[in-house]
């Protein structure tokens, strides 16, 4: 069985709303969750902007899809790697991001954070540890 499980990495390097890539990336992640692969998401460069909290798109007339990230835990998508250097360059800290959690059923359904802030070097390691890399 495990031979059929591949490591999938979704790489997000673009900001939301200005272009549709962030939204359509998330749509792939949601569909892909049904395939029981080993899924990770990477947020680096402008991709880190996808996770900011307090997004309010009412006045631009485009649907706010950022709440969907908080539902990823229900789809067993629990590894969201965010690059520290990308945050730094953009004047952001971890506190500027949404809180995203998942319930660990092996640990009495304890809520655990999905966002893991890692260094650029660690991001390179995550990328080098995949079978399939999908870029958006």
């Amino acid at each position: 069985m495990s031979e059929n499980i591949k490591k999938f990495l979704y790489v997000n390097r673009k900001a939301p709303y200005g272009t549709i890539y962030a939204l359509e990336s998330l749509e792939v992640v949601l569909i892909g969750a049904a395939f029981d692969q080993d899924v990770s998401l990477a947020f680096l460069d402008d991709g880190v902007f996808q996770l900011t909290k307090g997004q309010d798109t009412k006045e631009i007339g485009i649907k706010n899809f950022s709440p969907t990230f908080r539902a990823l835990g229900d789809y067993e998508v629990t590894k969201l790697f965010v690059e520290q250097e990308s945050l730094d360059e953009r004047g952001l800290t971890a506190d500027d991001l949404q809180e995203i959690v998942w319930e660990d059923e092996d640990d009495d359904y304890a809520e655990k954070p999905s966002i893991r802030i890692i260094s650029r070097a660690e991001m390179a390691d995550v990328m080098a540890d995949q079978d399939v890399v999908l870029s958006f």
């Binding site: 900001a15 200005g18 460069d45 902007f49 307090g54 997004q55 309010d56």
Partner: protein, 102 residues
């Protein structure tokens, strides 16, 4: 009233904002729209470059786009004016010409 320049790209993704402020004349207005609004925050790799031109050129940000992206108004660079779509129209109307930095 000079030129109204619009920039719709993140300054961390493309060079449009930096090229724009390098070409804008004193007295011009630069309006950051869409992903361009990411240029309006303090503490980033481009905020010094923007601050250096602030005053000589009038820096504005499209508020609806800023809000959409969950950015913190408290951390907007000093001297940047936030406008809504009506304000965008007014800026265009009172400028001599407009130039989009695509």
């Amino acid at each position: 009233m000079g030129t109204l320049h619009t920039v719709n790209k993140s300054p961390f993704a493309t060079g449009a904002l930096l090229s724009c402020i390098a070409h804008a004349k004193d007295g011009d207005t630069v309006l950051m729209i869409e992903d361009g609004v990411y240029g309006a925050s303090t503490g980033t790799t481009v905020s010094d470059a923007l601050a250096a031109r602030s005053g000589a050129i009038s820096l504005c940000v499209l508020g609806p786009d800023f809000a959409a992206r969950g950015l913190d108004t408290a951390r907007m660079l000093d001297g940047i004016t936030s406008v809504d779509y009506s304000g965008f129209v007014e800026l265009a109307a009172k400028s001599d010409r407009t130039q989009a930095w695509l």
